[in-house]
Amino acid sequence: MPSETGSSTVLEFDRVSFRVPDGPALVSELTLSVSEGESLMLLGRSGSGKTTTLRLINRLLDPSEGEVRVKGVATTAWDVIRLRRSIGYVIQEVGLFPHLDVERNIGMIPTLEKWERERVSGRVRELLELVGLAPDEFACRFPHELSGGQRQRVGVARALAADPPILLLDEPFGALDQITRIEMQQQFRQLQQRLRKTVVFVTHDIREAFLLGSRIALLEGGRLVANGTPEELRGSEHPEARIFLSSLNA
């Protein structure tokens, strides 16, 4: 559907609902689209359906109703492995493989994609530099030898390994201390300005949403209640939006 001029739509939610069997809907009637190069922040409280929405994109969940389309194709019509490998995924707990060193963690998907060994290690070095870790120092370390911030950097590098056009992040900086978090937010902003990935970023922190988002989608109880640029959100009259905005000045 050619709707907006110039930018092409990469992700679309078309009246999507998701419920667990015999349970309430975690996401209801969600319609939303994300254009190429956009940074969409999914903002909301715990239980508002942000993480569920994210998992519908890389098909860790399938919609109960409606359709999620990635590059115009319904996720259910994609080969699930191909779909996931074209989408980088970063979670709060990072989920690094504890038995593999940093190089093998980052190189996992390239290796499975049968890249040659030199190409993999070249890519790993490039990515470590990109996320601000000295390759010589960090490539051979194991996850337990890293600080929380370093782990999260490796997590981001791993998500970028096969150069996916889309990046999903689920509260990636949520478990970090304040100082490290601010540092990581700044770096991520710079990274995004260089890479221009299509980003969907889950957060409950409106400051983070304003800092990193080109657009913010506010969710409440599984429903989309506001969707616009940070400036547009500032003008929103929706009660949930007002609550989040008031926390900005707190």
Binding site: L60, R84, R85, I87, E93, G95, L112, F142
Partner: protein
Amino acid sequence: MELIRFFLERRGEVLSLSLEHLVLVVASTLMAALIAVPLGIVATRRARLGRWILGLANVVQTIPSLALIGFLIPLPILGGIGARTAMVVLVFYALLPIVRNTYTGITGVDPAIRQAALGMGLTDRQLLMRVELPLALPVIFAGLRVATVVSVGVATIAAYIGAGGLGSLIFRGINMLDNRLILAGAIPAALMALGADWGLGRVQRRLTPAGLRTERGSS
């Protein structure tokens, strides 16, 4: 003193029976592992089948070993008199600890790690081979260790159906009311169990990834 002399006089016999015992234990534990590890993996993949597998393995464990031998004697192929029946019994007893530890080892992998692996596009097979099994290996090996130690004990009973091993010394001692003969069978068996526990424990620690050593490596 007299006991030591008794041992020395029969060291040839004790040694060859120990070897027989060891072969019986090692062969049956390895065979059990070949059956139990795949069963444990299947149990993690199919929840309903998994309940059956674990339940059945539990039930087998509750059958007294002598009774199991009794049941097997009249059976064709699996049963009869001799080392083959003993192998069957030992394999049965070694199954449970290995199945259970394979299952708990894999299901015990941090869900965040599994989610990250799936989300980045590993197939189920790749998840198993590259992530879950390597992380579960120390736990699986702990099951193998328990199975081995148990087998050393159960294998002494196998002499009852003529499977040989250290049990034959013990049974002969019982029949002849000769404590020295009983000890000549029991002491090497105990040492073998302790040795297996210690040796396999060392291997287990080496298999534990450095990052997990403090959390799960012990015991």
